[in-house]
Symmetry: C2
Subunit: 291 residues, 2 copies
């Protein structure tokens, strides 16, 4: 099986590693605008060969994974679909799904494309951040599955299942709305928390001498790549603004309770939210069940 991975960052690189390990006969071709990343991926053994987009045209029955920032995907995927063979599968792994589904909805090769979002990652980027088994017991959201050719759906599912992922089907609008709450908002909250503390604490010694694991946990996502996240917020602007409004309202309300010395209400706010424990345990349990 010929696999082309376009974008050798954390997600593309990790997919390359896992596919190679599950499909012994696969050949992994790496494509990246960043020649340093391309070379690094080759040296790390993440890919078998360097390649270019032009090489894709010559292969039939290939799998092409698009793991680049979501704005670049919008440009690349339609032109790439123009050039592929009829039996080639293209799937993306971006954190927004509405824009890409919209852009290619009338493309003659729409049936060669599958819109996916594996919910996996770390705050690190580049081929060096790629890791084995990143996707095991993680969810992969697939959007508009019915628009993809049945044989190519089957091929993609085979890959995702072999990597240990559980599959959820969802329409692109619902995906973008829900993911704004459980992922995009977390990133903004983390970035702005980091900004607030950095702005205030000019003397950094004071920050890192006093900061504990709780702070590290809440600002971890503020290490994420701006090149990846800016276009995500752009494409999911409407939903992200809505989540931000609600989040800011909740913070304002908490501040008001504090200003009014209403500590029983503050207690209740926290007590009610402790319920998140069961939800997070739910995540773990689901992962355990699937093991």
């Amino acid at each position: 099986m010929n696999i082309f991975v376009v974008g050798l960052g954390l997600i593309g690189g990790s997919l390359a590693i896992d596919i190679k390990s599950n499909y012994k006969n696969s050949i992994i071709f790496g494509i990246d605008n960043n020649t340093n990343h391309l070379q690094e991926a080759l040296e790390l053994g993440v890919i078998d060969h360097k390649a270019t987009l032009k090489d894709i045209q010559e292969k039939s029955n290939a799998v092409i994974i698009i793991a680049i920032p979501v704005d670049a995907s919008l440009n690349l995927i339609p032109t790439l679909l123009d050039t592929i063979s009829d039996d080639t599968l293209v799937f993306d792994v971006g954190s927004t799904k509405r824009s890409i589904c919209e852009v290619i909805k009338n493309h003659p090769k729409r049936r060669n494309f599958l819109a996916t979002h594996p919910i996996a990652g770390t705050e690190f980027s580049g081929p060096n951040a790629a890791q084995k088994d990143l996707f095991r017991n993680k969810t992969n959201i697939i959007c508009e599955v019915e628009k993809t050719a049945f044989k190519l759906q089957e091929k993609a599912l085979g890959i995702f299942t072999s990597l240990g992922m559980r599959i959820r089907y969802m329409d692109a609008d619902s995906h973008d709305k829900h993911i704004a709450y459980v992922s995009h908002l977390s990133h903004i909250s983390s970035f702005m928390l980091g900004k607030t503390v950095i702005n205030e604490e000019k003397n950094e010694r004071d920050i890192f001498d006093m900061a504990g694991s709780g702070f590290a946990s809440t600002v971890r996502l503020a290490k994420s790549s701006p090149a990846m996240w800016t276009p995500i917020f752009q494409q999911n602007k409407k939903n992200v603004i809505e989540t931000l409004k609600e989040y800011i309202n909740n913070l304002e309300h908490f501040k008001t309770l504090l200003e009014q010395d209403d500590y029983s209400a503050i207690y209740a706010e926290m007590k009610n939210t402790n319920h998140i424990k069961q939800i997070l345990n739910g995540i773990k349990e689901t992962e355990l069940i699937k093991k």
Copy 2:
């Protein structure tokens, strides 16, 4: 050495475990209003004996650790100081320091008290959450050290050092201001993030199927105990409100940039905050240096 631990939660219990392991001849007496916790601590081997506050009066040369919610500390510590022997050390471990220092500033036994804040913990509570080596390579902030008798300072430092902590001296006002940024604000941001998502996502399946490790990381602190955190926010009200204002302003600004489609400014916001990487690495490096 007779050690009384008042409050057998995560912090009190973990201190009991480490002190017992470092001072083989120590006897750990546990005191807790919650009789289940007291029994649990005894059964887990966290303490050697159950005790009551009355038992403290009979021991000379004791060490008394106050690890209860900070509102309860304000009530207990002054009356406890009334009853102790002249050579007994009392220290607290609360997350606010101004209120307790203020309450006992004119107490005749002020020199028997040391105000400390070990920056360590998890989101769990109760004796079952206690763990060995929780304090290794962590910072302990000590406030108004000069108001504690020299011999008792020395005794306390001996304990903290044996547990592997690094010590930072700070005035109580500065402690409360800085800790609002690097700890208290993180907790509120996490609680309100949890609230926002729970409110929106009535169908919990959708949350935990789509939530990844990033979400789990940012809402982890929303599992924390409301009984512990309500009085912390109350005692540090002024600083916490100030941090909340700045945080909300930063979130509002981010939202405005998004509404204005100013994506280069959004990119810059994130790029500048990526700097948190070095700060968090600083935390790790400091921990490594001290190992």
